[in-house]
Symmetry: C2
Subunit: 194 residues, 2 copies
DNA sequence: TCTAACTTGTGAAGAAATTCACAAGCTCCG
DNA sequence: CGGAGCTTGTGAATTTCTTCACAAGTTAGA
């Protein structure tokens, strides 16, 4: 299967949010032109993006809104419930644990870890903060599919190494530093500075 | 002047954050190769990115860390203090008003507006929430250079229109909808869904 | 001064993403 | 059934972005 450009995936997620909007308004079909107008792109772009994954429309008619949004959710991995842990119970970590948008999108935060003894055992957004020493054991046990890193830049690489070793395949990092990981582990860094 | 790609600007901001790191460690010079390694790109890319704005390095030597970071800050508009207002005192608006990272980067939040009478006059992160009815008057008076929109999607376009009419030139929106504005007004939409 | 070792800045080549343009499929209506 | 009016899906053309490759500038050391 061919590699899909990141920009394509980003746009698909935008299309999905418009589809949800359109669906809520009760429309049953839509066209690449509609989606393009809403998303600030061109209809050819929309069709090209979708064509990477198959053909979901009917010529002359457009796309079925419920069908296309369900296909997009599938493509984007949002039809699955992902088990997520947050590493780092500082300000960013706590804000993420509280963020409701995660759960809405199928990302279920079921664990928060920290190394600070004064934080371990305390409550953070309804979850008990666990000792980071148990993290790799829990990961190895298959407790999580995704880890979100909200730790200082200087500790991030070491945690990535441990997670990769324990068998985790997906990491989202908020640490402002370049992270290295084996090729079969996907690491994505979010730049808070914008 | 030639148009600069958004991807270039995004990388410049990454380089700057590494430079700040390097500066804090006390190093005086760095090379395109260093920056590339840290940023997960190539040295040719780094040099190409910088070359759009001039030549800041010395052949054989590399770049002066303080000079390059100050030039980047200038290019990215971070050497200026921007006066920012937040429109919408809901959850996102309040979180943004509280967010310290803004001030660090030269974005000074000096006003928060909302249309809800139960919120007007209340305190939000040290600022009194003002009546949105006064927003265009304040904008026209030159009180703000940038507006951050944290309002429901259905109200966003109307506010953009009012701000544009009042003479504002830069808007950052968190509303999940495509916004239209005159060509001389820059609107940037942040996709919370990731 | 001369050579070795670096590193920048930049045309040119190569790769990737976007846009164009059109054949082909679908629906409606007379 | 046939034509008009839409809209998709997709090769080909075009534009944009990235990487290559190397001349030229700089420093250090002999």
């Amino acid at each position: 299967m061919k590699r899909i450009a990141e920009s394509t995936v980003r746009r698909l997620s935008i299309y999905l949010s418009f589809l949800e909007d359109i669906e809520a308004r009760g429309a049953l079909t839509t066209s690449s032109d509609d989606l393009a107008r809403l998303g600030g792109t061109t209809s050819a772009q929309v069709r090209k993006d979708l064509s990477f994954f198959g053909s979901f429309g009917k010529r002359g008619l457009g796309y079925s809104v419920p069908e296309l949004s369900s296909r997009l959710r599938e493509i984007l991995g949002l039809s699955h419930q992902w088990r997520v842990c947050i590493v780092g119970a500082g300000k960013i970590g706590a804000a993420l644990a509280r963020y409701a948008g995660f759960a809405e999108r199928g990302f279920l935060v079921t664990g928060v870890y920290d190394s600070d003894p004064t934080k371990i055992g305390k409550n953070s957004a309804g979850l008990t903060v666990k000792n980071i020493a148990h993290l790799d054991r829990d990961v190895a046990a298959g407790k999580y599919e995704i880890a979100v890193l909200a730790v200082p830049a200087e500790n991030a690489q070491q945690i990535v190494d441990a997670l990769a070793k324990a068998g985790l395949k997906a990491i989202l990092s908020f640490a402002p530093t370049q992270l290295n990981a084996p090729a079969d582990v996907t690491v994505r860094t979010v730049n808070m500075a914008m």
